[in-house]
Amino acid sequence: MLVKVLQQNIGDKQRAMNELFGRYSNKMLEFFYYSLNKDREMAKDFTQELFLKLVEKPERFNLDKTFKTWFYSVASNMCKNEYRKNATEKKYTEFVVNDNQSSFDAGNKGGFVINEALTCLKPSHKNSIILRYKFKMSIREMSEILDCPEATVRSQLFYATKELSKYLKKEEV
């Protein structure tokens, strides 16, 4: 297990780190990108910071979880802290336009509306939607990442979908 190489003083640590980076860097960048309302620069900073955390404190890895769920839960907590820091969340309800992805949205009205609707969701609801439909996580994995019971995850998904649906319907009218 690669993270064990980082935790214990065995094997080529740099190689293990590079391997983990190769596997997860794009995914984590996307996770931050969607969670932080498409702020690409901030997503890059957060991804870099996440991997630095892994290098500096690999002992924090919880052996009860799989590396994937643990890593996503650290990333999710970083987003929560960021939301808390900007308590008003105003910053994250503004749609970041100057991005490649936005040009994709502009040519795709449905995508544009969904993106706008996502920015209006509560952070916890938005995270649920991203983890479930972007990263195709199972309910069990989500409950580990979000650190709540499976029933709560399902309930969050239900209400998030309901909110999204309301927003989309309003836009259609």
Partner: protein
């Protein structure tokens, strides 16, 4: 909570028409058919939105360098902040000033030989040098011997 759990599973997986009559009845106790259809449509559109979005590449992010855990390297790479060095210097100098320069040991004291000063000057001889009999009365002090 239980209803929401089951509801969401059904919405994710089945169209309303694909549900059994019992399931449809259960759904209709919670929401209208239109609401169910809208929520299912939303989920499908969201999945399509994420699937069609271009994949982001972490091109300009670099894999962090892992520091070795070797004790010697740790020691060499250890960086002391400037304020700690300054504080250390202050402590060293103040301790140096507190310590007296030389403390004679007990041995040195014991090795020292006593010197006896024998002064034969008397009160009378002192009066010799005093001007105009300033010391008038000789009280009979014989000798002053200083040991």
């Amino acid at each position: 909570m239980k209803n929401e759990k089951s509801l969401h599973e059904l919405i994710e997986n089945y169209d309303f028409s694909e549900l059994s009559i019992a399931q449809q009845q259960f759904i209709l106790t919670e929401m209208s058919r239109e609401e169910y259809t809208n929520m299912r449509k939303t989920i499908i559109e969201t999945i399509i939105y994420f699937d069609e979005a271009p994949i982001l590449m972490a091109e300009d992010i670099v894999s962090p360098k892992v520091k070795s855990n070797h004790l010697l390297l740790k020691f060499v790479n250890y960086k002391i902040p400037v304020y700690k060095i300054a504080a250390l210097l202050v402590i060293v100098f103040s301790i140096q000033n507190l310590i007296p320069e030389e403390i004679p040991s007990n041995n040195q004291v014991s090795e020292r030989t006593n010197e006896y000063i024998i002064d034969t000057d008397t009160f009378l001889s002192c009066s010799r040098y005093s001007s105009k009999n300033s010391i008038k009365y000789d009280q009979g002090l014989s000798r002053l011997v200083i040991n």
